[in-house]
């Protein structure tokens, strides 16, 4: 089931503004990789359970206790842009 991919749509989902010269090369690479991956289709897996994680660990909880966190200043100090206690980003709400 060799796949033609819609590179514009995938790039939109991935939040990448690909330049025209990147698009052609990347779609070709992706189609080649997907053609290779297609060999998995020859295996019958209807009765096989998926493995998303190899360790038999589920829902690890810890006590919900309060602890001081003293990293705010260090985090904000090297942020691309900050103001007071906040990361600063371009305006989101139109006309505000």
């Amino acid at each position: 089931m060799s796949q033609k991919i819609n590179i514009d749509q995938i790039a939109e989902l991935a939040r990448l503004s690909l330049k025209p010269n990147e698009q052609a090369k990347l779609s070709k690479d992706l189609e080649e990789i997907l053609a290779y991956v297609d060999q998995l289709q020859e295996l019958k897996t209807d009765s096989v359970q998926p493995t998303s994680h190899v360790l038999p660990i589920e829902n690890v909880f810890r006590k919900d206790s309060r602890k001081p966190s003293e990293v705010r200043e260090a985090v904000l100090k090297y942020a691309p842009k900050s103001e007071g206690k906040f990361f600063k980003v371009p305006k989101i709400i139109e006309g505000a």
Partner: protein, 477 residues
Amino acid sequence: MELYQFTLKQAQEFLAKDPDRRGELIAALSNRLKIVDPKVKAYVNFDSKRVELQKDGRKKSPLSGVPISIKDNIVTQDWETTCASKILKGFIPPYDATVVRKLREAGAVIFGKCNMDEFAFGSSCETSCFGPTHNPWNLDYVPGGSSGGSAAAVASDIAIAALGSDTGGSIRQPASFCGVVGLKPTYGRVSRYGLVAFGSSLDQIGPITKTVEDCAMIMNVLAGHDERDSTSANVPAPDYTSFLSKDVKGLKIGLPKEYFVKGLDPEVEKMVRQAAKVFQDLGATCVEVNLPHMKYAVAVYYIVAVAEASSNLGRFDGVQYGFRHESTNLRDMYFETRDQGFGAEAKRRILLGTFVLSAGYYDAYYLKGLKVRTLIKQDFDQAFQKVDLILGPTAPTPPFKIGEKINDPLSMYLSDIYTISANLAGVPAMSIPCGFSDKGLPVGVQLTAKPFGESTIFRAASAYEQTTKWYEKKPNL
């Protein structure tokens, strides 16, 4: 012998005898680095003042005063951590990764940050935004990847030992290419807290060292449960050094039929079979085993690993850390930051991961990949009912030339064909030097054990190393 040539064990003994000479060891290593690293380019961040500051640390600890180098995707407090990506340039972590904290508590001096493929995406160290690292055995060749900087630094005697990370072979393949020892521990054996995530169900941190003994000494520091990594295993860790210098009599070693097929370089095959012969001569039994789904490992990996990578890399959007493309428009800031900040291989994997997770393709790709992952894991479970260890090549070829595979992603991916399945199954695996090609380039043999079977690997690897002593050969730099 020069001080910079020390193994970890020798450095530890030297400093235990004379703790006041720790400055001398660090100076010897720093001077060697200044001469050698302009050729090898193993480090992305080295600052002798920063190293000086640490040298008067704890004096009575197991690694007291011993310098250790760290791959640049493991966070170090107040010390830039870039993952060799433009998008993280300028990121100064406010905390140490658990492994770094443990090394410091054991007295180690964090020596420098090592080059790598961008976000660990690669098998040659060529996708780094800082430019490639060179193989110390021949500077025209790649050191392997993604932990190529760590492996090249150890092989060049500009690191006593180093940490790497391994998602599909990123510790073992560069260890093989540089002629050093590299261990990917069992998934969950070592905390991933502070490792910049690539494939969260596959990533493990592990040591890259000059000898098997050094590797065991570092594992004694790293192994153990960490409440800050909910996937770390609550399984007691033994003293790994207690398994060294034991014989291998009675050990059953499996050679998978599927490993010795077309695509395996004849020189590598010969050396790997010789390694099996050494084990037999030492009293181990070698038998054939089957890993029937082995040939699907790369295909599964390029679904599962890229899917996890595409979601893990969602956090790099110019808001909190590293590089931002300034814009008056938020959407434009996200899209341009990511397009300018990520390199070609990172974009390839983000796009592929986004695709296999997208509506309409999830079942055909991602779910299918997870199911075949189950079959690969079952192959190992069955093999380990018959044998204690699996032996095979680490990489299908000796090191290749810089530039040889960088424009052919699929052929680059296939250089991890023998290492990927251990990550998919979560089992531990080590690469140890087993000889040199006709061109004088190193080749490694891989030993794989069942989950939490690192001790069996140490037992066999140390017996092999003591017999063959490949580590005595050093590159001319």
